[in-house]
Amino acid sequence: MSQTAAKAIHYRYFLNLGPQHPSTHGVLRLVIGMYGEYVLSIEPVIGYGHRMHEKMAESKPWPMFLPNTARMDYASPLPHQHAYVSAIEKMTGIQAPERAEYLRVITSELSRISSHLLWLGAFLLDLGAFTPVLYSFDDREYILDILENLTGSRITHCYYRVGGVLYDVDGTFVGKVREFITRLHSRFSMYKKLVEGNIIFLKRVKDIGVLPLDMARRYGATGPVLRGSGIAYDIRKAAPYSMYPKLDFDIPTGETGDCLDRYVVRIKEMEQSLRIIEQALDKMPAGEVMAKVPKKLALPPGDISFSTEGARGEVTYYLVGDGSEVPYRLKVRSPCFSNLSLLQELCEGMLLADLIATMGSLDLVIPEIDR
């Protein structure tokens, strides 16, 4: 055996990343088989934040599960809640008033923007750029304030109800949202200047972590992760719900499916979300925000599945009723679960630093995976 070959054995080792590592965003642990600086294998270890939400759902009447829906994807809780209340509305044949549906769209899109802003700061922080997070959190703060005034909580909003939404909005809310739209529009060019021209940023993300379509399909990737690879698949268009069919917006896609494309898609998505909110504010009619809902509402036997487009992809609530108020079974399909499971195949053979960039571009929220 030559001396280099003998040495090569010593280059193989296991690296434990997390569960408390800042770049794993939440409690995700990766056991990485390494060869020098190269990644040979990755085994994600999850479950640290597991709370068994699905068991909680089948042990109490359905209205009591509403707060839980905000505690899975804490970065954009409202699309989760949207899927849950819509599944129950569909099952029991309740129709929310139009004004409430518009309010759901507006708040869901605000939630999406706030999630993308959080991701923007955290992703660039992973890549070693400290400044952008200060700016993006500044913008995100506006959304948190708007939603706090409306829903009463900053992060875990519990705003939607079966048959409508909890509170109506007034002129102050509309004014604040419009103010925010103007503000964020003016900030995009600043973000572009701050980030996209940076040669270090481009070297870290261009042609890194390319996700081919067939891999996306085999793992069930959705959301911006998929759209970065050039597929315009968005539940808001594919299976339109709420007021989305009445609103005009585009689905941004990337070309190659690398980290840069996923970045670009999310930035463009924020612009589209602003477009949606603007239209929704204009079109929102006056009127009630709650339909008449019986005090006790039993879920009929049978199953139903309802999907919404979360900030990270397809959120599906699969609900099984048994004729009582307590769901017989509730399955929550979280997009990150599938998006993370492809990490091993996507990152094999890349440098450790690229793994960090790729993982950041997947925009993982771990409590949503653990549930």
């Binding site: 479950g47 399909r217 698949y233 599945s305 699969y318 004729g323 399955k331 499971s341 195949e345």
Partner: protein, 159 residues
């Protein structure tokens, strides 16, 4: 892109015990398939060939045996498919990880929550629960709360 649904249906027909088509998709599925235990993998293979992706795998514990559901959707056309397989008394179903690699985690999760064994899964160890919680299977219903298949999924026409 258009997808020839009749072709798809005729292909999976041989492997399915029953097929329900609902073009409106009002319950979230356009095609509701009850697959034979032995035909599950063939159904999955046909769906992958037609470009479907795996949305999720889940299970519902009913009498006499737990029911495993596979939900598929398509990136280009709005079409959702659910495949139902009964896990049988010994709680076993074939694994589809050699067709859909994304199934690996879903199957491990079902193994944690229900104790279902997926034959052919190469790495069926704990995903969400810890080693110490072996055999806990939190989503298995107690004798008191367990209901029969007919109660939960009433035959067509009565639901």
């Amino acid at each position: 892109m258009t997808l020839d649904m009749n072709k798809l249906i005729s292909e999976v027909k041989g492997f399915a015990a029953s097929i329900t088509v609902d073009d409106s998709g009002s319950r979230g599925f356009h095609l509701d398939l009850r697959a034979e235990f032995t035909g599950l993998k063939d159904c999955a293979r046909i769906l992958l060939e037609h470009g479907f992706y795996l949305s999720f795998i889940t299970a519902v514990h009913v009498r006499p045996a737990a029911e495993v559901m596979y939900k598929f959707a398509h990136y280009e056309i709005p079409y959702n498919i659910i495949i139902r397989v009964s896990a049988g008394e010994d709680m076993r179903v074939p694994s589809i990880i050699d067709i859909y690699q994304g199934a690996a985690w879903h199957e491990r999760e079902m193994h944690d929550f229900f104790g279902i064994t997926f034959d052919g899964h190469r790495n069926l160890k704990h995903l969400i629960l810890s080693r110490e919680e072996k055999g806990l299977n939190p989503l298995i219903k107690s004798e008191k709360s367990l209901k029969s298949h007919e109660e939960i999924f009433p035959p067509k026409g009565t639901a």
